[in-house]
Subunit: 159 residues, 2 copies
Amino acid sequence: MSVGVEWAVHSCLNLAWSEPEEAKTALALAAFYELPAAYLNKQLQALTRAGILTSTSGPRGGFRLARHPGAITVLDIVTAIEGVDDAFRCTSILRHGPGGREDQDYSRRCVISQTIRKAELVWRRELAATTLDDLRAAVERQSPRTPQRTQDWFARTRR
Amino acid sequence: MSVGVEWAVHSCLNLAWSEPEEAKTALALAAFYELPAAYLNKQLQALTRAGILTSTSGPRGGFRLARHPGAITVLDIVTAIEGVDDAFRCTSILRHGPGGREDQDYSRRCVISQTIRKAELVWRRELAATTLDDLRAAVERQSPRTPQRTQDWFARTRR
DNA sequence: GTCATACTACTCGGATAAGAACTGTCCGAGTGGGGTAGG
DNA sequence: CCTACCCCACTCGGACAGTTCTTATCCGAGTAGTATGAC
């Protein structure tokens, strides 16, 4: 899995702690964790294409959450960066085995494919069960001062 | 995930259907699904290093299951090919954020890391719940003639 | 006929390349705001 | 003083390299079986 996933979730969380109408630039979001700005920008673009963020160009532009933090799951972010394809690719090798038929869809029928795809399903379900709001609440339980500190940092940095 | 995982599980299943003391060569296992033999050999080497298979060189050599099919899980095979590392790498970017401490282990403390690693845990647990014996039983329920057909094919091919 | 020996074919194992994906960088298109000049 | 226009700095977006991982291939080390010859 790309490191971009980690960056993306952290950045989305930072966006969740700011005023919804105030956009944050890729440069500011990258500086927060000392990340390469141009590359983080690439990840934010992917999030924008996926409809998780909205972007505006020009002065006072940047990225904002496209919807309420409670409506954005960790799975949304992961699939935005990694793509929607399963990690396991069933190439239907049973087709080329003895007694295999070319016209059969072995990715559905193959027991091995079923097993691994079921595992990916529970993985997906687990990630879909956590929203940005859940993450925010969990962080605030652990470090209550994080929201304020984050807002202060961005306020200081913008000038 | 590598395609090698798919090849490895299918090949292990074929080994489970043969006499335990009879070794199968990488060439034969590859020919069964028309796979590139040298590359499949590489995957079988990984399974051998992981202690899932045993290998013997020379004439009448090849690969055999190192233990009973009921004692080999799908997770064993996946980690043998893919490595034991998690797919998600927490690089502890919180360390470089404001208020971050260099000496803290954020991969344990970070809520985001916890969430994604928990998802990987259930994925792992799911794969660990299925053994080669389970797969064999499931296939035989679906296509009862598969074991016989597989054995016949290898018997015909060896000469 | 039996045994020891050398040879040969076979198989794994790791070293070696080609290709793809991830990681990282750079510059151009478009935008909004502010400055400036005219009324 | 107010307004309209123009210029400029700012930001995203996609095009462009460097590096690592996946995919694929090849040849050498070691082994077991077999043929051969001596006893």
